[in-house]
């Protein structure tokens, strides 16, 4: 059975249909990429599935349980974590503290104990700090641990967001353009990281514009255009699909592609 099953999901904003009748399934440990031209509705689809928007219609099943319309903080309890296209970092906290907040769900915390600074709080803090440090090391950011996040570079923050999302120990991780704005070295690091995450059993749903990255690491690819599914399948099959080429490059591109394939 698939881990995540989205069926006929859709939403419109002020009469404009942003996402319409999109369905897909994701299995554990799979890298599932969603691609499409700008404005195709990829991030909107992410926001629908991860609880930022409430879908107008359609179903989201996580492990067979209906979760459509649940708030993000409840979805993450069920194993769904995500990163954001436009960085959502806690800029005034250190890199380590950012990941420590990511450990929130695993923390045992009582308001009264927190206010009185009971010894249990100190123990919990040490535990959280160790876990967060291990995650920073996993994404290769251990030397930035005590730097305020506001002073870190874009590429570093992209990985910091992944570490923070991993702290929630998700079974399915949504990455919205993790390599956007990163240089070749940083992209390669993220590439390895995603493959490693998937290998550990966590499914990865990926939005990415770097086609080389998508083709290299995806198990399956879903192509969206104007809010609708255009094609779905193995990376190579999707790449050679004339409809996909047309959507990206227009009819002119389609002719070029046909000529190239001879």
């Amino acid at each position: 059975m698939s881990l995540l099953s989205v069926s006929n999901i859709g939403i419109s904003f002020g009469g404009v249909v942003a996402v319409d009748e999109v369905s897909f399934q994701v299995a554990p440990g799979e890298v599932f990429s969603i691609i499409g031209p700008n404005g195709a509705g990829k991030t909107t689809l992410f926001n629908l599935v991860t609880g930022i928007y409430k879908p107008l219609h359609g179903k989201v099943l996580l492990d067979g349980a209906e979760v459509a319309g649940l708030a993000p903080h409840l979805l993450v309890r069920r194993g769904m974590a995500r990163t954001f296209q436009n960085l959502q970092i806690f800029f005034r906290m250190s890199a380590l503290e950012n990941v420590m907040v990511g450990c929130h769900l695993a923390e045992r915390s009582f308001l009264l104990a927190d206010l009185l600074g009971l010894p249990s709080v100190g123990r919990q803090n040490r535990l959280t700090r160790e876990r967060a440090m291990a995650l920073l090391t996993r994404v290769g950011l251990e030397r930035h641990a005590d730097t305020e996040a506001g002073g870190l570079s874009y590429g570093v923050l992209k990985r910091l967001e992944i570490a923070r999302a991993l702290a929630a120990e998700p079974r399915i991780l949504f990455l919205d353009e993790p390599a956007a704005g990163c240089n070749a070295v940083e992209t390669e690091a993220i590439d390895h990281l995603i493959v490693e995450i998937a290998r550990s059993g966590t499914a990865v749903v990926l939005i990415e514009h770097d086609m080389k990255l998508v083709m290299r690491i995806s198990d399956r690819v879903l192509v969206l255009a104007q809010g609708r599914p255009l094609a779905e399948g193995a990376p190579l099959a999707v790449r050679d699909n004339p409809a996909v080429i047309a959507a990206y490059l227009g009819n002119h591109g389609q002719k070029e592609a046909q000529r190239a394939h001879g």
Binding site: F84, Q88, F90, E107, D114, Q124, T128
Partner: protein
Amino acid sequence: MLATILRARFTPLLALAVLMAVIPLVAPSAFYLRVAALVWIFALAALGLTILMGYAGQVSLGHAGFLGLGAYGVAIGPAHLGLSPVLSLFLSAAAAGLIAYVVGRPILRLRGYYLAIATLGFGMILALVFNSETAITGGPDGMQVARLTVFGWRISGTQNWYWVAAGALLIGAWIALNLVASPTGRALRALHDSEVAASAVGVDVSRKKLAAFVIGAVYAAFAGGLLAAMNGLITPEAAGFMHSIELVAMVIIGGMGSVIGAVVGAAFLVVLPQALTAFQDYEQALLGLLIMVFMILLPGGIVPTARKWLLERLS
């Protein structure tokens, strides 16, 4: 070495305790001690607002309403219900927390300007009630407050009140410092920077905001109770709009999110009007001007700016 001390968690508490111990030794007269006691009390209220505004990033323009609840609680308990003044102090702080919980649930769904206006309305309603329920609150003239008695010891005299106020502030500061370094404190600071990211890692954003609002209300009510008991008199002005704005100004001038900042901000707004009385007619204008100058020169607030400057010098 000095940088490590500056960064250590309980340094603010120690600095505060030293300051509290030194002031009575150098104060030339009881008047100065009284002003200092007022600073400690307002700092306690500002500290509660610091937790709400500085940590959690939520504005309240009605915080003096909670201060008024505490103040009138201490006055009404003994006068109308036959309760001991000290019990009234704790009961009214608890009641303020409860009211904050009930009012905060719908209000804290709002954000930014809308939240500010909603809290403003709440504060105005409370001030109106204190003003008009003459039979209970004495109306615009206010009411007398019975002396606080702890285990048979009647707290009176400037010196005693100085220490009571100082002790209350130290406990408040200790609790606030505990909170910042706890899981709840981290969640509050996180949602201040990004609510959407905080909820995406499992933080129940509205519940955490509500917790900060309730804590802030209890701080303000406690401060209000102490203020009323020390003055022996309470008027509706204490709960008024101007007072709410003053509390917000204390937090911002001192430095958002800093415990010592709340104390410095309170000192700024309690001591300066006293110091400026020499300028008579121009007192208010000068106070306003000084606030503007400080905000332009130190936009991050006095304490965070000074701290950053010191840390840079030391490294």
